[in-house]
Structure formats: structure tokens, C-alpha cells
């Protein structure tokens, strides 16, 4: 039998392999037409054929997403800290934020285009608009659920509210924060890609639209997979940072991470 450790290391690859085989088998077995759902092998061939343009578009999307995500993290932290530490701000802003985030961001892209032209800036802004909310919610929840006992440690030293936030609030909220990053990065990708499909000459979103209007579904799926891979890469980065920064919270030997 495999040891637990080897199993854990291999697990993601095994699952991906299994999914890949399933995909190919279903598509080939049920003769799903290519224009609907191409086979994995077709996607693979298409990826190889269009390697250079895919890389170029992917780089654009990646950088755009990172920029939007970066803004989202900063804004999310600040808003989350405000919402989580003041009942007035909480009550005042939260419903509004929820309402705003129920709206598909794609509706704003045309407006952004008018203000900023098509291309990178609307994509960055869309990525930002779509992804800051989870950060706000989680940071706010992390702060609001801070044990008063821990806060008292700082308060008994006469610490200012900002000190308390910095020394207990935010560290305590770190596990929440990292959870939100995982959601936010996926949304940031969604945001920039959606914006690219509506208004851009560049990026995976554009590539997918172009491919789908030239009926190259294999290329569309290649684009999807590239986005997925970029998402996973970013996730692994956070997972690394998370292990380093919130190891204290993940000390449960039976838990994951």
C-alpha cells in the first residue's frame, strides 16, 4: 500500500489523470460532437498548434488579473477592517456591498470602456470589482469574531484601536483572509476574462471569443484550461504563504493543510 504521505503527494495528479481519462472517454464514447464539447486530445492538439498566441494572451490575462486582484486585496483588507471593527460602518456598508455584488459585473464593462477605452484598464477594474467582496466579508468576519479575551490583552496595555487591529485583529483574521484569497483569485480571473471577451484585443477572454467565432471549440477549451492552470498556480502561492503565516491556526494534526 502507498504511504499516507505519498498518497497525499500523488493525489492531485491522480485525480487530474482520472478526470482527463473520463473526459476523453465520455467524449469519444458518447460521440459528443466537437463543436459542443471537444475531446481532451483535440484540446491538446489545439494547444500545441496555437502555443505562442496562447502564451501571449495568457500573459496578458495573468498580469491583468494580478493587478486587479492586488487592488482587490488592498481595498478588501481596508474595507473589511472598517466593516469588521465598527458596527456603524458594518450596518451602513454591508447591505450596499451585498447588493452591488449581486449584480453581474459584466454589466459595468461597457461603462468602463467608455471611461477608460477598451483593453487592460477595464479588465483590471472588472477583476477588482468582482473579487474584492469575498476579502471584505472574510476579513470583517474574522475581526468580528475576535475573542474579547485576546483583545483585552492589548487593551490592558492601553493600545490604540489601530494597534489592536494590527497586533490581534489582523493576525487572528489571517485564516479567514487566506480563505478569501482563494475565492478572490478565482473571481479575479473570471472578471478579467469576462471583460476581455467584451472589450479587448488581447487576453484569454479575447482568444476564447475569437476561437468561438471561428468555431474552434478545442481552442476555446484550451483557453479555459490555461485559465484554470493559472488559477491553480496562484492558489499554490497562497497555500505556501498560508502555511507559513497561519501555521498556528492549522495545528490540528487531523485537519487538512
Amino acid at each position: 500500500m502507498l504511504s499516507q504521505k505519498t498518497l497525499i503527494r500523488l493525489a492531485p495528479w491522480l485525480v487530474i489523470l482520472a478526470l482527463g481519462i473520463l473526459w476523453e472517454a465520455v467524449v469519444v464514447g458518447f460521440q459528443v460532437p466537437e463543436f459542443l464539447f471537444p475531446s481532451l486530445s483535440a484540446v491538446w492538439r489545439s494547444t500545441l498548434t496555437h502555443w505562442d498566441p496562447i502564451m501571449m494572451h495568457a500573459t496578458q490575462t495573468f498580469l491583468t488579473t494580478l493587478a486587479g486582484f492586488g487592488i482587490a486585496v488592498v481595498v478588501g483588507l481596508v474595507l473589511g477592517a472598517a466593516v469588521g471593527s465598527s458596527p456603524v460602518i458594518y450596518k451602513a456598508l454591508y447591505p450596499l456591498l451585498v447588493g452591488f455584488n449581486s449584480i453581474p459585473k459584466v454589466a459595468f464593462v461597457p461603462v468602463l470602456v467608455v471611461w477608460f477605452g477598451i483593453g487592460t484598464i477595464p479588465a483590471i477594474l472588472t477583476a477588482f470589482l468582482i473579487s474584492f467582496f469575498p476579502v471584505v466579508v472574510n476579513v470583517a468576519t474574522g475581526l468580528a469574531t475576535l475573542e474579547p479575551e485576546l483583545e483585552d490583552v492589548l487593551r490592558s496595555l492601553g493600545a490604540s484601536r489601530l494597534d489592536i487591529l494590527k497586533k490581534v485583529g489582523l493576525p487572528r483574521a489571517m485564516p479567514y483572509f487566506f480563505a478569501s484569497l482563494k475565492v478572490a483569485i478565482t473571481l479575479a480571473f473570471v472578471g478579467s476574462v469576462i471583460s476581455e471577451t467584451v472589450a479587448s484585443n488581447l487576453g484569454i477572454g479575447y482568444l476564447m471569443m475569437a476561437a468561438s467565432s471561428s468555431m474552434d471549440m478545442a481552442l476555446v477549451f484550451a483557453g479555459l484550461i490555461v485559465i484554470g492552470i493559472m488559477g491553480v498556480v496562484m492558489y499554490e502561492l497562497f497555500a505556501f504563504a498560508e502555511r507559513r503565516l497561519t501555521g498556528w491556526a492549522h495545528r490540528n494534526p487531523n485537519g487538512a493543510l
Binding site: F35, H50, D52, P110, V114, I118, T197, A211, S212, S213
Partner: protein, 315 residues
């Protein structure tokens, strides 16, 4: 200093965009003292909005959307300066097995199209011209990307769309060319014009020379494209390496044959309009779209920037 022009296409970089890209790549614009930046669009109505808001100086947009814009927000004053598509490329596309071969057969059928599709919006004009009731067909609203899929699978009886997009899409979904029936709007009494080069009023007022230069350069490129579509598509490929050259060449040729080279352009030359038809078509659009006002046809299109007729002649 060259005059900067931000220009928006109606759609992505596809075959029919070839003349624009060719003009840029072969420096025809530069020769006119212009620095043109060409962006992909996301719909021919969207292009009107982009120009209307001032984000773009010029664009390639559906002339009927321009009529609608002017009717709904009078005073926009965007003008068409070059009618590239002499008629609307809209068509109702069906499969032969639906048994439809003429408009009268459409009664009771279900057609799929986005609400903003030109063909769907122009349906009242099509119905009127062919003596059909407005509610003769049922509509199913879908995204552009899946209507051909639904048709190919038989989920709907037909679709509306740009002829040269829908037919090619259907073929890519495994439908044979001979199994496709297309009721092209221009062939069935709908006199709508198609896509035109439009310019914002501000730009027209401030840089009329630039507009004229743009149109001149484009006209030259369009003629070159007509003469050698295969070569023109290479410039599309250059701009967007992802395109399928064979497919886009076909698309370009279909577009040329259907809406660029028509009896009217043979008579008036490329880019021009027939004043009487323009008037009629504006009225038809107003009726079909249910618009609140009828804009002045003369203000919507100006022939002032067109190159001499000789330069625009086609056979």
C-alpha cells in the same frame, strides 16, 4: 503630426474586417496623415454607443442601430460617412428538413436569436414585406454563440443572424451546405442598409480632412480586398494569428457577394447610398423597431466625404 483616430470595429478580427486591417498594415492611413488604432468590437450596436460616448472617434457600426440611437436620444448627430454593407446581412436560416423554402412557410415556426440581433429586430419589416403577421413566428431568446447549435440539434426550427456567420457556423456543426435554407432579408423586400463607417459629430466638425482621408484610404483598401480577398485575409491573420484563414476567406467572400457588391453599388459605386431608399429604409426601421421619432435621413448619412465616384466604381 499624424491625426490620431480611435476606431472600433463592429466585431472581432474576422474576414470582413480585412479592408480596415489592410489599410492600416499597408500604411494607407499613414499616407493620409492618420494614426488609426483599430479595436475589436462586441456588437454593431455597441459600436454606435462607443462612438456616441466619445470613447472612439470613428467606428464600423450597424446603420440601423444608428437610426435607433438618433431616434431615442435625438441630437447625438453621429453620421455615417461610408456605407460599406449596401444591405443588411440579416437572414433567417433554417434546415431544409423544416420544409420551409419561402417566407410564407414560416408561420408557426420557432426562431432562436438574441433580442438584439439585427434580423430579429428587423422581423416586423420582413413580415410586412412578405405579408406575414407579426406573431407568425415564436421567438426563443439565446446568446449568439449557441443559436446554430440549437438549430443543428433541431431544438428550434430556425434562427436569425448574419448570413455569412450563421451559415458558416452551421457548417462547422456538421450541417451540409445543401441542407441549409437561408431567407436573406435583402432578397425578400427588406431595404435596410447594413454596416457603415460612422464618425462622431465632434470629430466631423474638427477634423473633416481626417475623415475624408480615412474614407479614401479605406476605399482603396476595400477595392484591393475585392480584387484579392485571399491576400487581404493575410492582414487579418497578421493582426490575430488565431484565425482560421480558409474560414475567414470564405466569410469575407460571402460578405462581399451578398452585401458589398450589389446592383445598387454597381450603379452608385461603393460606399454611397440611394437618397430615396435611405429615406424609405429609415421609415421602415422606425416602424419595425417601434421608435418614438423618425430622424432626418439626410442628417444620418453624408456623402460629403466620399471619394470621387470613379474611385468607387465596381462591376
Amino acid at each position: 503630426d499624424p491625426v490620431k483616430i480611435k476606431f472600433t470595429l463592429d466585431w472581432r478580427f474576422e474576414g470582413p474586417a480585412a479592408p480596415f486591417l489592410l489599410a492600416k498594415a499597408k500604411n494607407y492611413f499613414a499616407a493620409e496623415g492618420l494614426d488609426v488604432e483599430i479595436d475589436a468590437g462586441n456588437g454593431s450596436a455597441g459600436a454606435v454607443t462607443r462612438v456616441a460616448t466619445g470613447a472612439y472617434e470613428m467606428g464600423f457600426a450597424d446603420f440601423n442601430s444608428l437610426i435607433e440611437q438618433e431616434a431615442k436620444t435625438p441630437g447625438t448627430k453621429i453620421q455615417g460617412v461610408y456605407m460599406v454593407y449596401n444591405s443588411t446581412p440579416a437572414a433567417i436560416v433554417l434546415l431544409k428538413k423544416s420544409g420551409v423554402s419561402k417566407p410564407a412557410d414560416l408561420v408557426g415556426k420557432t426562431l432562436a436569436a438574441p433580442v438584439f440581433d439585427g434580423g430579429r429586430k428587423a422581423w416586423p419589416a420582413f413580415a410586412k414585406a412578405n405579408g406575414l403577421a407579426l406573431d407568425a413566428v415564436k421567438w426563443q431568446t439565446v446568446e449568439p454563440a449557441i443559436r446554430e447549435t440549437l438549430l443543428a440539434r433541431g431544438d428550434v426550427d430556425g434562427i436569425t443572424g448574419f448570413y455569412f456567420t450563421s451559415v458558416l457556423n452551421l457548417e462547422a456543426r456538421g450541417v451540409k451546405t445543401e441542407d441549409i435554407v437561408a431567407l436573406k432579408y435583402p432578397d425578400h423586400g427588406v431595404e435596410f442598409y447594413g454596416n457603415a463607417i460612422i464618425a462622431s459629430p465632434k470629430f466631423l466638425a474638427e477634423k473633416p480632412q481626417a475623415v475624408a482621408g480615412f474614407v479614401r484610404a479605406f476605399n482603396k483598401a476595400l477595392k484591393e480586398t475585392l480584387a484579392n480577398p485571399e491576400a487581404a485575409v493575410a492582414y487579418v491573420k497578421e493582426r490575430d494569428p488565431l484565425i482560421n484563414v480558409a474560414l475567414e476567406t470564405r466569410r469575407l467572400k460571402m460578405a462581399m457577394d451578398m452585401v458589398v457588391v450589389t446592383p445598387e453599388t454597381a450603379r452608385l459605386g461603393l460606399g454611397a447610398v440611394d437618397e430615396a431608399r435611405l429615406k424609405r429604409s429609415v421609415a421602415d426601421v422606425v416602424a419595425a423597431f417601434g421608435l418614438p421619432a423618425t430622424p432626418d435621413a439626410g442628417a444620418l448619412f453624408t456623402s460629403a466625404y466620399l471619394p470621387p465616384a470613379a474611385d468607387r466604381a465596381v462591376k
